[in-house]
Symmetry: C2
Subunit: 349 residues, 2 copies
Amino acid sequence: MDNAEQKSPQRRRTSARATVTIRDVARHAGVSVATVSRALRGSDLVHPATRERVDAAIEELRFTPSQLGRSLAERRHAANGIVFPDLSGPYYADVVLGYEEVAATLGRSVLILSTHNRESADEMVLELAGRVDGLAVFGRTVHDDVVAEIVQRGVPVVLMARTEIEGADSVRTENVAAAASVVEHLLADGHRRMSFVGDPSDSTDVAERWAGFRGALAQSGAEVPERTIPAGFKEDDGARVAADLVADGLPDVVVCANDELALGLSVALAEQGVQVPGDVAVTGWDDVMAARYAGLTTVRQPMREMGGRAARMLDARISGDRSEPRHDVLTTQLVVRHSCGPHPKEAHR
Amino acid sequence: MDNAEQKSPQRRRTSARATVTIRDVARHAGVSVATVSRALRGSDLVHPATRERVDAAIEELRFTPSQLGRSLAERRHAANGIVFPDLSGPYYADVVLGYEEVAATLGRSVLILSTHNRESADEMVLELAGRVDGLAVFGRTVHDDVVAEIVQRGVPVVLMARTEIEGADSVRTENVAAAASVVEHLLADGHRRMSFVGDPSDSTDVAERWAGFRGALAQSGAEVPERTIPAGFKEDDGARVAADLVADGLPDVVVCANDELALGLSVALAEQGVQVPGDVAVTGWDDVMAARYAGLTTVRQPMREMGGRAARMLDARISGDRSEPRHDVLTTQLVVRHSCGPHPKEAHR
DNA sequence: TTGAAAGCGGTACCAA
DNA sequence: TTGGTACCGCTTTCAA
């Protein structure tokens, strides 16, 4: 009894406590915290009458259990993370949408992190990994060893649009065959001289698209460009390419690594009096909303599904339903629009 | 002494502990947890030699401090939340981008929640509120009383694109004057009969746009429609409106509550042989990427800045730098493009 | 059915 | 400079 007295030689730091805790509820209801906890969890080891008293106390005190205390005790965060290079652009937003949607359904909150090109990206990701039960990592936002470190800590990781890493799941979209189908379509339309805009060292996706592009051209006997025209993923990058293209002489087609690039390029070309597709055909990748309105031929990717799939894969790992890694590849689809119209020479025949 | 013995009548549940704790590090380094904690926090009350031993132990054990333990002790989450009706569409993505960017800079993680139209939205938001130090809430995703409840719990809230609530900060964009400038521009182009598509009861933004629209028309002496043509915010909603519009007779202009609506409407009209802007002019709102490529006249809103602003407002409240609520209104800008070309009659003069 | 108490993994006060 | 230890708020044995 005097034990209780001895127990608090140290005062509470704040005399007026802001938050109502489970202990307050227990005291108010005249029961132990264990009972309150049980009532909270809906355990059937609580007498109905007792439960009523507890509920009343909870109501009266406007008590909300602390997620922190709960998580610490349960040793789980009930939250997943997702890491992006950059949330701008329509592409990532859709993936996050799918991810969040599924995660929410599974009772998990979602923490997002955009690494931009911050120096501190690695640390930020490691920090994030300490706040979640599972982590989705997009593209080359994080170094391989950081991912490995996270996996080793026991946090399930699913990689999106990135080459596989030991111990981590992955979801990607099909690129090689899609690139080939783009090339084949263009060839059928009479186009021959094709350039590829994008930087294969930027991402696995671009590398695969470039490989598929070259492969299909080689197989058809058409001229295969030595290298890509390097560029980022933004409209501005496309605009910059346009200038060089006009100066160096136009090919029949410019296959771009993504839609924003293709759209920026097209606009810049038009400003310089180059007609699309009349003078040069242009294709993109992703099928973002603007591509539809710009009439851009592109490859549609199931972004939202990719996000959802990632969330589900993580859930399976977290809940222990699956332990072997899994690697999914989602199919993509060529969407032919106006920007790749038949080559003039072909059309004249 | 025997006290220590008595202290563990209860075994650890897991014999092989997965996670390395601060106690392990302390033991390994031959110091107390207090010292490890100090070393961790970079306190200068640690002897260099001691610090070295601690660092070595941390390194060797690959110790990472638990965010949960830390948060519980520090009584702060170091995380902010943001609540959306729906993350789809380019609009919200940009706001999140700005929010995350600033929050990350301020050392806070970001939890996102899309309420969609889930029944359980209120509970989900309340749950989220328990995981963060501050919360940004978008539009009418959450009932007023839920917001009030969260504010009362002491969690700073900033409302975005929503009418003010006692005790919460807010960031909005200017709507009334912008709507008036749209109308004035259209009037100057010779358009007279204007319809407004959107549901004012959907959001504060739409209500204000509708009010500005009516006000400007009334002031000009032009015909003021009795009511809006109700519609949601998606392309599909626009398409549905198109059918009715054609059946009921076209006005000179259709002013839409957002871009997606306007774009969906335009496409559907074109499919029915109605020319934009020849037969009817169309305007949108937001200036999303697709609007540029579709040549849609619209009102540009600083979405990204709105997100960033919200994050900063929360930070000020959380850190106690400010206690009185603040309400920011961001300026918007009319962007004239092809879709609202001069009215035919006007053009012929 | 209930309660006491030992965690979960840190932080920070107090005393040494 | 350090160590001991009482928290932070909740969950879950174990015993009654």
